[in-house]
Point group: C2
Chain length 368, copies 2
Amino acid sequence: MPDGTRRAPLPPGATIGVLGSGQLGRMLALAAARLGLKTHVYCEDSGPAFDVASRTTKAPFDDRAALSAFAGQVDTVTYEFENVPLDTAGHLATLLPVRPGTKALEVAQDRLAEKMFMTGLGIAVAPFRAVDSARAAHTALSEIGVAAILKTRRFGYDGKGQVSLAPGDDAARAWAEIGQRPAVLEQRLSFAAELSVLVVRAADGALAFYDCPSNVHKHGILHRSIVPSGLPSQDLARARAIGAAIAHALDYVGVLAVEMFYLGPEASTRLIVNEIAPRVHNSGHWTIDACGVSQFENHIRAVAGWPLGSTERHSGAEMTNLIGAAANDWWALASEPGLCLHLYGKRVARDGRKMGHITRLLPRAAGG
Amino acid sequence: MPDGTRRAPLPPGATIGVLGSGQLGRMLALAAARLGLKTHVYCEDSGPAFDVASRTTKAPFDDRAALSAFAGQVDTVTYEFENVPLDTAGHLATLLPVRPGTKALEVAQDRLAEKMFMTGLGIAVAPFRAVDSARAAHTALSEIGVAAILKTRRFGYDGKGQVSLAPGDDAARAWAEIGQRPAVLEQRLSFAAELSVLVVRAADGALAFYDCPSNVHKHGILHRSIVPSGLPSQDLARARAIGAAIAHALDYVGVLAVEMFYLGPEASTRLIVNEIAPRVHNSGHWTIDACGVSQFENHIRAVAGWPLGSTERHSGAEMTNLIGAAANDWWALASEPGLCLHLYGKRVARDGRKMGHITRLLPRAAGG
């Protein structure tokens, strides 16, 4: 089934299959329920989404029989993480619509493919070199010539599978550190701000954009997102245009996040795409509390073939992740006026684990 | 276990038992999930709440074994409808906290008890007479002397079990029409507006109020709620004081709705209590979209022994119920900018059945 094929919208009461059982799947399930749609969550392990789904399947992603049974019980399929195996998505796509499609997965799962894809669209990325040996790592570092980051091509997230390098560092050792896996060496950019574009594309190609948050990372993990970002409006317009170009090129259906670096008003190229996430995104969690229709609901609407909801925000917002032990402060957070508390129902607050998030609502303030 | 007893708050991950499987239970379950709390829904019939609950029990309300098993799997119990049998709530209350307590149920289940309770607190209600025979109905109608409504004492909701009467009408026939059941004859008041107080009381006695919506009923069913109501601030302050008095007198924990008639600025008694609902209430559905913390979340917070969340609204709102076939317009409604659509996942759109609701967000506008 080609992605983006026009189909009748799902009626209320239909079931959306969700691959993955994390907090994103949980918030997708909650958003679907609001619209009278059911969710069936499929994952190898039970997780936060299992508690709120109408049905669940716990089975390996390569279990064809379980996948086919799942496909028989749902009306369309989406996913909450970009590392869904391509075979899994491909098998399901022979049986029913998978939205966003497998093309977005292919691009997002491989940093090298992602950078080639961007370059092909005329979108700026950080200077990079492919690395598939210790020797190549060494050569790449001397060619880049400045501070750089070696990143595995696959399965990196939240700063995992990355090593920072300065000119003259032992590139071979860095390559060993990331497991001698196919990688990309990227120039480390010094940026004025990080931002993300949150674009949603409907099955009919219609687009809507949430205001771009400015993002702050700590230890490679998103720490905080703020809207309005305060960035110049012409740069935000350019950021949205980049998001639109990517969504159209992928024949995308659903919410797409594009993480970018803003190099500042003096830079010759002000916006550099860091990476894309073909799914709802942590930097869009504030939309639950500050918009009439959240990123989760708009993703569900798109996947169901419904009209998109308004992406307008009624408030300013500052979203902060609760990582690991930070969630132990839930009582104090629950006591803070104007704070919206979200906990994901995870039992063990391991270091680096996203346990929840908070959104502080602020006066609306204009600007994108 | 006396209601309102101080107990340790439930930690995230705990399970709240919910009696009743309707849309209110569904929205309670969604609100609990947001806080990382689980829900276990117990009802005689499966319903909209079953789709989003962590666990479900389908068993009669008088099944002591099923109730005891349920009590063993949850940490506290609440309910989504006021006609939970007292024996059910009473049995559960011997095993674990039931919030709000059985006292609120006793009062809310019997219109006569409710009116006596209000009168005892010095709160104005419409002139009424108890009716338990055709003769008593006749006498009551002549004593009231003006247009009146005969209402069954028990199991009336959404205008069911009610007959309107004018002086000289056949009161005995009206009593036959409502099934010759114990009843109350109430004077029909001509009011300037209907409003409801939405008060939430924490386990420690702390109170918070949402802005009072003005309400419009059609055919005895809530049609629309609007905030701000535009009613005079001193009357709204008085309405809140009435709500506070009722909540304290019931040693209430959770959201309590008090439906009132506003008789206008010239009336000697401007506010008359119509009835109370010891639960989250249809006239508070706008709080999902117009407040940082909804009535559903604040009910869950209270029941869990958590601090209350802010009841402040960031927007004005107009909530309209989707009754019966009105929900068939979901596509057009989903297409309307600034409209928040909520569907309850009910399959059959019977006449008079609440299928969903919509909230139109408006500029904030001051006033309560």
